[in-house]
Structure formats: C-alpha cells, structure tokens
Symmetry: C2
Subunit: 364 residues, 2 copies
Amino acid sequence: MSNPSLLILAGDGIGPEVMGQVIRIIDWFGDKRSITFDVTEDLVGGIAYDKHGVPLHDDTMERAQQVDAVLLGAVGGPKYDDLDFSVKPERGLLRLRKEMDLYANLRPAQCFDALADFSSLKKEVVAGLDIMIVRELTSGIYFGEPRGIFEEGNERVGINTQRYTESEIDRVARSAFELARRRGNKVCSMEKANVMESGILWREVVQKVHDEDYPDVELSHMYADTGAMQLCRWPKQFDVIVTDNLFGDLLSDAAAMLTGSLGMLPSASLGAPMANGRPKALYEPVHGSAPDIAGQEKANPIACILSFAMALRYSFDMGDDAKRVEDAVEKVLSDGVRTGDLMQAGEGKAVTTVQMGNAIIDAL
Amino acid sequence: MSNPSLLILAGDGIGPEVMGQVIRIIDWFGDKRSITFDVTEDLVGGIAYDKHGVPLHDDTMERAQQVDAVLLGAVGGPKYDDLDFSVKPERGLLRLRKEMDLYANLRPAQCFDALADFSSLKKEVVAGLDIMIVRELTSGIYFGEPRGIFEEGNERVGINTQRYTESEIDRVARSAFELARRRGNKVCSMEKANVMESGILWREVVQKVHDEDYPDVELSHMYADTGAMQLCRWPKQFDVIVTDNLFGDLLSDAAAMLTGSLGMLPSASLGAPMANGRPKALYEPVHGSAPDIAGQEKANPIACILSFAMALRYSFDMGDDAKRVEDAVEKVLSDGVRTGDLMQAGEGKAVTTVQMGNAIIDAL
Ligand SMILES: CC(C)[C@H](C(=O)O)[C@@H](O)C(=O)O
Ligand SMILES: CC(C)[C@H](C(=O)O)[C@@H](O)C(=O)O
C-alpha cells in the first residue's frame, strides 16, 4: 500500500510559521514511528494570488482532489483588502471547500484545563467544556445564487441567497448524529425557523433523519439567536451542535473564544468517502492569519498541530496517534509552556513558535 | 396640545404580567406628575391569532400607525409552534416592524452594577459595560424575496434572500452615527464582506456616510464572526455597533446575555419622523415570552419598564423622566430586591412581578 498523502497549503500571515511546526511533527512520525506521509506543498490565498493572479491555481485544486488530506494554515491579510471580491484570498479557501464538497465542518470547542483561567468566562462555566459544532460548509448563503451588487432604479442593491436542499441538510445531519453517538449522544440543531423558510426545512429534515435513523440520539432544536445566548450562558448544556454555514461561522467563533483557547482550536472539513474509503478532507486551525504578528515567531502553532491530529483520527484511522499528539500538547500546557497569546500581560516569558514546537516534540 | 398616545400590545406568555407593571407606572405619571398618556390596549401574537385567526388584526395595524408610540410585551409560545408560518405569533411583530418601517432597532447591552456578578463572564470583563447595538430591522434576509420552500427536481429546497439597498444601509448608518455622537463617539460596523456581496455594499455605504457627514465619529469595520468573538472576549472595546437584521439578531442576544442582565434589557425600534416630529416607534423588552414561567407572577418586569423609559426619552423628549425611572430601577436593585431570574439557586427569597413593580414605584 502506498504512503498516505498530504497536501500542505500554509497560506498567508502566520500560516507558514505554524505549519512549519506541523511539518516537524510529520517528520517525527517518519523518524520515530516509521509512518511516512507523502507530502507536497503548494500555495493558497494571497500568496497564490501574488504568484498566479488567483487565490487558488487550477493545478493546486486538482492536487487537492487527489490527496488523502489537505492541511491548510490560514489565508488573508490587509495587503489583499482592496482586491476584487473574485480573487480575494478567502475565495481560494471557499473554492477548496466547495469543489471538494466538504460539507461537514467539525469544530470542537474545548477548554484546556491549563487554560480555563484564560477565558473571559468564569472558570466554573468553561472548565471541562467539550462541545462539537458541526457546521454545514458547502451551501447556504455562502454559495447561493443569485448574488452580487446590482443596479435597481437609481441605486444599487446587494443580494445574497440562502439556499438549502433536503439532501444537503440530510447529509450534514447524519454527520452530526454519527459524531454524537461517539460522544455525549446529544444533538442540538440551530436555525431561525421562526423567520426563515430555509430554517423550517432545516428543522424538518433534521427531525426526519433523527426519527428514521437515529432515534437513540437525543435531539433538540433551538433558534440561533437563543443558541448564541445559551452558548454564552451555559455552554456545557451542549454536546453536538449542528447548524448552517453562516450561523455556524458566528456560533463556532463565539464558542471558540469562550473556551479561552482560541489559538488552540483545530477543525476538520469532511466530505464523502473517496474510492479508498477515506473521506475527502481538509484540516485547518480555527484562528485566522493574524497579520499583526506574522513573521515574528510569536504565533501559537497548537491549533495547527491539533488539526494534524484530527487528520490522523478522521482521515487515517490513527486515533491512538492522534491521542498521542493531543496528550503531548496537554502535557506541554500543564508544564506551563506558553506562547504570547496564552498569557496575561506581564505574566512571565513567552516562548516562540519554534520553542513551542520543540516542547511538543520533546513531549512526544 | 393633545396628550401623548400609546398603544399597548402585551402579547403572549409573560407579556401581560410585565406590561401590568408598566401600566402602573404610566398611572403614576398621571397621578404624581400630571403627565397623562392616552392609552389603548390591543392584541398581538398568539392571543390575536386565538381571537382573529391572524397574529395582528388590520385594525390594530392601523392604530399602531396612528399613535405616538407602541409598547409591546412579548409574542409566541409552544401552543402556536405548529401553526402555519404565515400566521405564527412572530409574524405579528414582524408586520409591525415592516409596515411602520422601524428600521433602527436600538438594543443597549448594559451591565447593571448590582448584577455584574450574575454574568457568566468575569466581573472585570462586564462591570460598567454600556454598549448600544443598532440593528437594521426592516430588510435583509427577514423580508427579502424570493423566499419559501419549493420543489426542485425530486426534492425540496428552502430559500431566503438577503437584500439591502444603498438607502436602507444609509439611513440605519445615520442612526448609529447620531447615537454615537451622544455617547462614546465610536461606531463599529459588522458584516461578512469577505463572503457576501451584500456585506461589501454595506461596508461601502457605511464608510461613505461616515466620510461625508460624520468624519468626527471614529469608524471601524469588523467581520461578524470576529464581532461575535470580540463581544465574548472584551465587549468594552465597543461603543455603538451597527449591523444588519440577522447578524443583529444573534449579536444583540449574545451581548444581552453577557451582561448578566437579560431580564433587564429594553429596546427601541425607530422609524422616520411623523408629522408631529416624533419618530414612528415601538418599544419592547429584549427577552421573549418565557412560556415556562408565564402566569406565575415570577417574571421580571424591569426590561419592559426600561422600554417605557426609552419611550419617554426617544418618543417624548422626556429624558429627565426616563432617567428618573432608570434611577428607580438602579436603586431597587442595589437595595437587593430580586426576581427569580436575578438570583443564583438557593440565594434567598425572590419577589413577585407585582412586588418588583411596587418597589420601583416606591423608589419613584
Ligand atoms: C475566511 C472566511 C471565508 C471563513 C468563513 O467565513 O467561513 C472563516 O471565517 C471561517 O470560519 O473559516
Ligand atoms: C421573535 C423573533 C421574530 C425576533 C427576531 O428574530 O427578530 C426576536 O428574536 C427578536 O430579536 O426580536
């Protein structure tokens, strides 16, 4: 059997720095565990635009379709703010999601014990928190047509379209129920069925999938505004949350921030199984490209490293190795190793990106 | 000059209970301050559906257009969950907003000193917090066409349309800048201009209004997902936030919850000036109809009372009287008077809705 293959797209801002540490861990697996990945690297985002005039070259797209998993760093930066919408760095990422049909975006919001104090929430509200947000990633208002800015009478109008088919809702609901069975067995589905017809269909299909195939999982429905509130009030009431692309964008960011562990959180975007049984997959940290600290060796590589751990688990069925990486991260944190983002002002000395990588490799 | 006129729509759930206390305060103004309001009462929401088969009767709509201000309690409840979308209780509220053209929804998120401990956030993060969210309320995905559930091939698709014209963005931006000038002089505008063209237009128009007519106000732009994060991390960085209907729905609920004062927060929905110079206006608490505690005299009437205070300020130019009501609420809270929602489990004895009303009237 051939080696598992990875396409690394480090992207912009702190992307290359944090991805550098992941590459070292991949090497560690080759050296110490004789697990060799076939790694190719390529460009996405602003850096791809600089070279090719597009934020994702067709050849890169082609390669992404062929590998077992894509690892992505981050895209975007102020340098690209004034680019035309169609070639903005984000379009590269959105094209990957769409063309690989990565419909289930898994975003764990987990509070690391060593960091519970770091949240803006009270310790008792977040300590031990471990929820999973499943965000639909290939449809909804991100991709619906018609869209654009049009002339109408003597002014312009900006239009986007929220659009969900039954089968799009069905498949992401299944992902959520499957995950729940391996966790706390509870799913909360969020929409605005009180004001949006697409929300009515969403609620109905999620309920139907539940009743037909997952009656053993506890299912509840919540309006997304109430969901935002409840995440802030008592996030531990949730196990798995399933929601659409746009609500998922806001809710998962809020949830990530609440944990106090934003620089720590990974994500997996999964599609349908390929011929080899592995799902199409892309892994990326939840945080962005942080242009303000890029190139200064200050960035926290943990979210990117934990994204690689998710790849081990979801793409390569290497749950034990994933756990090994996660445990190494836990250990390093409880030893008190901290990048700047994990410290309060005036609280001791921050390590660099590479030093954090060193510590994690030592702990492995 | 004729008396100022009010239409009271107490609605469903705890609506009538909390509105009962507002009516007592209106009476207090007549008795003690010789300020008489012409009050009429009518139905909205589920209770209107029960009587008329629609959540807002045309006669009520007509009356709402004529009075100086509408005071609304809350709408909705499980009894109405299975009603057709077109006659759900919420449609009554949405019709009022739309036909009165109440485009600027002002939602203060304020942390009451006496309640700072009650937030799920750390005290230092919320103590003294005072931000104002200005939510566009008459357009966007709440009202855009096409909308509905349609057959397509052999499945159904749910569709809603986000739609903003330049003039819709322009007018709500002006409301935000005007408010900022009377507060901290800072506006942060939130959208998803990185993925939605309607967000691009939003950003552009807000910037233009700023540059042309409010260059003295500090303006920043933020993606709405980052906004959700930043509200959770350090809400005091904001003064006025302006955003669209749907983002405003989620963000203002999250912000309200963060203050720990959800049962305390009022809102004003304002439209264009009428012939008498007063804006079309509707005032309502941010909280919902709380069917689980309805009819038990447990509800906290403060949000509804503070909504009346907003009416005094924004509709009747009675800022001093508004302040008098707000100070009475502050006093009662610092005296330790608490409805159940303002107490931790096992923390002493809660007062009833009426007792809270008594305390506030005594403090006046
Ligand atoms: C970068 C941007 C296009 C993206 C999104 O809106 O989906 C990001 O916020 C995310 O959550 O992954
Ligand atoms: C009741 C509902 C229609 C309403 C909304 O979504 O606007 C509510 O959540 C609000 O925020 O006022």
